[in-house]
Amino acid sequence: MAEVSNSSGRDPLRSRIPVTVITGFLGSGKTTLLNALLQCPEAANTAVIINEFGEIGVDNDLVLNVTESMTLLDNGCVCCVLRGDLEQALLDMFTARRAGGIASFERVILETTGLADPAPIMQTLISDPMLALHYRLDGVVTLVDSVQGLAQLKDNAEAVKQAAVADRLVITKSDLAGPQAVEELANTLKRINPSARHAIAIDGKVDPTFVLAVGLDRVRVQPEAVERWLGDAPSAHGEHHHHTHDISTFTLFFDEPFEKEVFERCVDVLASLRGADLLRVKGLVNVVGENGPVIVQGVQHLFHPPVTLAAWPSADKRSRLVFITRKIERKTVADLFSAIAAIKPA
């Protein structure tokens, strides 16, 4: 059969249900934030997945336990208690939706347990081919409590990782801490993850669009959406390094376009050598023969299958990759690209 014609074809991003992962340490206010969010019209038709009933994101009074694992909230949202496999829960929910068994939800919010490492959840969402038919990771929102946050970040590697992989950081309980403590926390978070935008929740409330519309939802995308997704990445030669936690954030730019195979080889080598410390990789890559940039998204050793945007968001067609790493410096990654691709970062 002839090659697939791309005209009037499907947008590989647009038809996927967005999944927002809300993470944060114990007591960081995930329950309060989720409750407030579900009251907003922007969050109508949301399916909520929570880890266990004890930690339910909504008051028990509001919950009707209907099937073994799925619950209908009184605002029409669906709540699913995750008892086993996330992949299975998401597929079951999609099947139930398609069969008309549950409401036609338009997004999923997944609340992790406080101690959870969000990376495996993110990996499932970006790399599981069955899930990718129906869902896409929209963003990771990490909550940090202004009272306990600094101590947790100091003492606990998981708390640091939660902040490091975030697309959005929300500082909670600011009313219980002084403005100075809030500022100190904000500065610390900025050092751990300078690319993530942050907001301060007031009474557990944040602008729903700040947390729910983070990812790229179509290939014919507005330039500002690409900027929003990439976040406030450091400029070409900047590198943020947070010594206490060995977390680095840096951006590599490449003036020359990549041959597809060469770029894939670079990513493969990097992931196999240093995958565990590659906390998050996001970027746009100029690939020879493609009209728009190829978007790259990776968590540790797993990468999302490449998707090409319809057009570059600006006249600047340099490849740019934002790395958030643990114990890997900019130079190491830059050298690796130079060695394999013979393309020196700008």
């Binding site: 059969m1 791309n6 009037s8 074809g9 499907r10 009707l64 398609r98």
Partner: protein, 420 residues
């Protein structure tokens, strides 16, 4: 407090189900929301987009709807049939010419055939001529295809056509309308053995585990495209999908035929070629309520050899358990047919299929061995629907990507945006 969910039973027909479509508007068409299987769009001289629909049953003939703003459809023309024992069901539009089918309830009745209208002023359709196919064994025209401004391809009876079985009463007929005031028949073809006097035996098989022909060997959709003006892609109900060589319109010749029955239940409806992919999509119509004729499927065929169509997959259907209990028919029917012309959207990758109470579904055929459902719209039961469920009957997508789908009984028109 919300009602309890029960995942084991069929879903509630009052509930809408929607994924990757956005509903822009619904219009019950002045209370005549029973739309058949003829939808096409006119771009009027003043730039307005007029969607023309034929009705499934009397008393309404056809309706013109201004859908320039798809969020605010506006009925601008609605006409009545001369009597209640007939229907239009099908129409097509080229430029400012519209052709409307007429099918009567019983043989021997009139008017049976089609009318040609000048719709230059959409508010005032002007009758140009009538083409008569009535006869002692004819009910007239069930469906027609008119896309080149020159020929009408249609499923019709004729005064001189006597079928061996009354159910075989529609053949494929080509009518030359280059002079719209004087349409003339240009050619015809029927399944061998179905006409009285044929030398071939009737294809009916009445005995055994898989009888064939219960629904009749008659013509349904008759699609011809500019990519292959020498081919007609014909759905011929229990005779299957037939590709005809019409390079000599007076003498159509069979190139190939593919039928899923037996053992499947037949009722081949639409044969949609996807030329750039060497594929063909064949839908089968469900005609019985509550899943009684399941499975009426939509098949994907490899057409690299047009004389040997090879089925490779079917479009995935929503669960029978749910939809057989939702009310009315559930199964295949119409497809968006990639109509030529400036007002239609065309894709060789994405296929839209209407499934009665299963709603409108969109499928991605990037991998033709594994078609993937990518969107659905199942509106809740429209008020006064006699099966208490929606019966999505037909679909048209315009060049802007706006999707128009219609209910068979009362729901009228739904306008949607694609979200994929």
């Amino acid at each position: 407090m919300s009602e309890k969910m029960n995942l084991s039973k069929g879903s509630n027909p009052a509930d809408s189900m929607i994924w990757n479509f956005k509903l822009l508007a619904q219009d019950p068409l002045n209370g005549f929301g029973n739309v058949g299987e003829g939808i096409n769009m006119q771009i009027a001289a003043d730039g307005r987009r007029i969607l023309w629909v034929a009705h499934e049953s009397a008393p309404t003939n056809f309706t013109g709807i201004d859908v320039s703003d798809p969020r605010k459809p506006k009925v601008i023309t609605q006409t009545q049939l001369p009597h209640n024992k007939m229907r239009s069901n099908s129409l097509d539009v080229v430029g400012n010419t519209m052709i409307v089918a007429y099918q009567t309830r019983d043989v021997g009745m009139t008017p049976a055939g089609f009318d040609i209208f000048d719709i230059t002023v959409p508010e005032k359709p002007k009758l140009v001529s009538h083409f008569d196919t009535s006869g002692p064994h004819s009910r007239g025209v069930h469906t027609l295809w008119f896309v080149d401004g020159e020929y009408v391809h249609m499923a019709s009876g004729a005064a001189d056509f006597q079928p061996r079985n009354p159910k075989d009463d529609q053949m494929y007929m080509i009518v030359d309308v280059r002079n719209p005031s004087k349409p003339v028949e240009a050619g015809r073809w029927w399944a061998p053995g179905t006409r009285e006097g044929d030398s071939e035996p009737s294809p009916w098989v009445t005995e055994g585990k898989f009888p064939v022909g219960k629904s009749g060997f008659r013509c349904h959709n008759t699609n011809v495209y500019p990519e292959r003006p020498d081919r007609a892609y014909v759905g011929y109900i229990d005779y299957g999908a037939v590709i005809l060589d019409i390079s000599d319109k007076a003498h159509p010749k069979v190139v190939s035929r593919w039928a899923s029955n037996p053992p499947y239940p037949g009722w081949a409806h639409t044969a949609l070629p996807l030329f750039s992919r060497d594929l063909m999509v064949v839908s089968h119509e469900s005609t019985k309520d509550n899943g009684a004729d399941w499975p009426k499927l939509v098949w994907v065929l490899d057409m690299r050899l047009e004389n040997n169509p090879m089925p490779i997959s079917t479009l995935p259907m929503p669960p029978l358990e749910t939809f057989s209990k939702r009310g009315g028919r559930f199964g295949g029917h119409n497809l968006h047919e990639n109509q030529p012309g400036p007002a239609a959207w065309r894709s060789d990758t994405i296929v839209f299929s209407t499934l009665f109470n299963g709603g409108l579904r969109a499928y991605d055929l990037s991998d033709p061995f594994r078609p993937e459902e990518i969107a659905y719209f199942v509106p809740g039961a429209p008020p006064l629907s006699r099966v208490n469920a929606v019966q999505i009957n037909d679909i048209f997508v315009d060049d802007r990507g706006i999707v128009y789908t219609v209910d068979r009984f009362t729901g009228g028109l739904y306008t949607l945006e694609m979200n994929f």
